[in-house]
């Protein structure tokens, strides 16, 4: 692909990225302004309900919240102030962890979510694509056929149920793995060997549950794609010409079936934050999902808005990165 065409493509993708963020943040704005209840007083009463807070602190919260909700000034001003704060990543102080700023809480939680979900999504994708490709190519293999049946049955099971099942098996029946938290409590969060090992150990169950659910759909998708490619004339021709099977599989069949799978990977990396919420809640993982759920329970508006915005941003960046990288790796992707 020519440099100039790639540049045009990149610019269009960047514009798309800006549009996604714009629409997403606007949705968040519209949602928070569609509410019939007074969100500021609601949030404040939710916080003061549990204990005594100094009147000065409440007043600070109130004015900060008013501004954050965009309730001060004319409608145009409100909208502009809202955007200004979003662009500065300033979501005010968290109400449930007052006076820690929301941005601090979010930056603390972000690496956990991104680490766990990126790795498990990619592992699930790799495994599912590879096995699905083999299954589509070799329709007679018993093991792969069985895998198809298992994937068919496993794929539609709600995530929550599977996670609960894993918890029961590895937490109670055969307690070998930690069932909650991101690392052992007593370890300082520094880059020591103990800490890294503990993080990995704690990640096994949540990752396993994500991978088990994920592999099935990638497997089924790739199998369907490959079994369509296998009947193409050029594959039949290559077979008749005596090209070795593994070469046919790797460079004729798999490569051609891979394009829709990669697009799918981009979309599912985009969906990471959907998966995060319930995974992290079930396993008590200290990421964005747990932060979001706790923020809702605590009535912490700034935190909810902060997590939502960061999710929208993170997802758009992930999709953008894949879209920009892919044409460089595979020249056959048609740049529209």
């Amino acid at each position: 692909m020519g440099k100039r065409r790639y540049l045009a493509y990149a610019i269009r993708r960047l514009a798309q990225f800006a549009l996604v963020v714009f629409i997403g943040v606007n949705l968040a704005y519209v949602i928070t302004h569609a509410t019939p209840i007074d969100p500021v007083e609601q949030s404040i009463s939710a916080v003061t309900y549990y204990g005594n807070t100094a009147p000065a602190a409440i007043e600070q919260m109130r004015s900060s919240l008013r501004e954050l909700y965009g309730l001060s000034g004319s409608p145009v001003e409100q909208y502009l102030v809202f955007w200004k704060r979003i662009l500065r990543a300033d979501f005010g102080p968290s109400l449930s962890a007052f006076p820690t700023p929301v941005s601090t809480l979010v930056t603390r939680a972000l690496p956990w979510t991104v680490g766990l979900l990126t790795v498990s999504t990619i592992v699930a994708w790799g495994l599912g694509t590879l096995l699905g490709g083999l299954a589509g190519y070799d329709r007679t293999n018993r093991g792969l056929k069985l895998m198809g049946v298992v994937a068919m049955g496993l794929h539609p099971i709600p995530y929550y149920i599977l996670a609960l099942l894993l918890l029961i098996v590895f937490g109670f029946l055969w307690p070998v793995l930690p069932i909650s938290g991101g690392s052992a409590m007593n370890l300082p969060q520094t880059l020591s060997v103990d800490f890294v090992l503990s993080v990995l150990l704690h990640a096994i169950l949540p990752a396993l549950s994500l991978i088990l659910i994920g592999v099935g759909s990638w497997f089924l998708g790739m199998r369907a794609l490959v079994s369509n490619v296998v009947t193409e004339d050029y594959v039949v021709y290559a077979e008749l010409a005596g090209v070795q099977p593994w070469r046919i599989l790797s460079s004729y069949v798999m490569r051609n079936a891979l394009v829709p799978q990669v697009t799918g990977l981009a979309i599912s990396l985009g969906g990471i934050f959907n998966g995060a919420v319930i995974t992290e809640k079930v396993f008590g993982y200290p990421g964005l999902g747990s932060l979001l759920v706790d923020a809702v329970y605590a009535g912490d508006y700034g935190l909810v808005l902060g997590v939502t915005t960061v999710s929208i941003l993170g997802v758009s960046v992930a999709v953008l990165a894949i879209d920009l990288l892919y044409p460089l790796l595979d020249p056959r992707v048609k740049v529209r």
């Binding site: 997403g24 969100p39 990471i272 959907n274 809702v296 939502t308 999710s311």
Partner: protein, 287 residues
């Protein structure tokens, strides 16, 4: 239509299993109309009874019969899925057909919005919605919101078919015979995309029910209207698993898995049916 159904039932094992599963769930949900007491009432039967002939699926710690509770929950959950699927189908059809047929800037504008909706993370948005609405969040409102968010992927699918229909000769013929854009889309193109619409309906229902269960399990929906997710939520609230009231969690779980696998198999078999190559293969195998 009946001929298609007969064909599918005869030649397609996946369709048969899917139909049986969905049929069983439907039957159970219809039974809700014959319940001896209203679904919201609590402590109408002795709590914590295991499954027995008088209470087939046992009773909950809130004094409800799991069987009747489940049939209400299933009815609401299925109704929810159908509402979301129906409304989002209309959106997907309108946008997909229009975008594919008109091309040009209309297509580009619609598809940029479309791609945006595909990648935006929905769960945080839905949670945000619940957060600002709280007690005023009815299931109908949630269904409307999810319908507005759930059309994008299928609109793209429909668009790709509409684009190929556009270049066919009959489109030009109808254009020259003076049909308006609306007439061409509704009378000429719609019948071609309907099969896809049916199979995406199943997927959309699986998607919306799954999301509703997720939200309800976290307590982020109107949990006083019984749904499958709501049942699991209340069971968790009463720590049913630890207390040994396993039937409270087990039956809704089995039901939701039946819905998911059933709808999924129906969608898969319909996809097979739409694709003539694999249809030939399956008919050939059966005979």
């Amino acid at each position: 239509m009946t001929a298609i159904l007969r064909d599918l039932l005869r030649h397609n094992a996946e369709f048969r299993i899917g139909a049986v599963l969905v049929g069983a769930v439907l039957l159970l949900s219809v039974l809700a109309s014959f319940s001896p007491y209203p679904p919201q009432d609590v402590y109408v039967v002795p709590p914590d009874l295991p499954p027995s002939p008088s209470h087939w699926f046992g009773t909950t710690s809130r004094g409800q019969d799991v069987f009747w509770q489940l049939s209400f929950a299933l009815r609401n959950t299925l109704l929810f899925g159908c509402t979301v699927a129906l409304i989002s189908r209309l959106l997907a059809l309108a946008i997909g057909l229009l975008s594919g047929y008109s091309g040009g800037w209309i297509d580009r504008a619609l598809m940029s919005v479309n791609d945006t909706f595909i990648v935006i993370p929905l769960l945080p948005l839905l949670v945000l919605f619940y957060f600002v609405m709280r007690d005023r969040m009815s299931w109908l409102m949630l269904a409307l919101i999810m319908a507005c968010l759930g059309w994008a992927y299928d609109a793209r699918l429909i668009r790709s078919v509409a684009m190929s229909l556009k270049s066919r000769e009959f489109t030009e013929t109808s254009l020259f015979s003076g049909m308006t854009t609306r007439e061409i889309l509704v009378q000429e193109h719609l019948p071609y995309v309907l099969p896809i619409v049916f199979s995406t309906t199943m997927n959309n229902m699986v998607w919306s029910i799954g999301l509703e269960v997720t939200l309800a399990v976290l307590g982020f929906t109107d949990i006083n209207t019984p749904t499958i997710g709501g049942m699991i939520y209340w069971a968790n609230q009463h720590t049913a698993m630890v207390a040994g009231v396993w039937w409270w969690i087990a039956f809704p779980t089995i039901a939701v898995i039946m819905i998911f696998i059933g709808l999924f198999l129906l969608a898969v078999s319909m996809n097979d049916y739409i694709d003539p190559r694999s249809r030939l293969r399956s008919v050939g195998r059966a005979s």
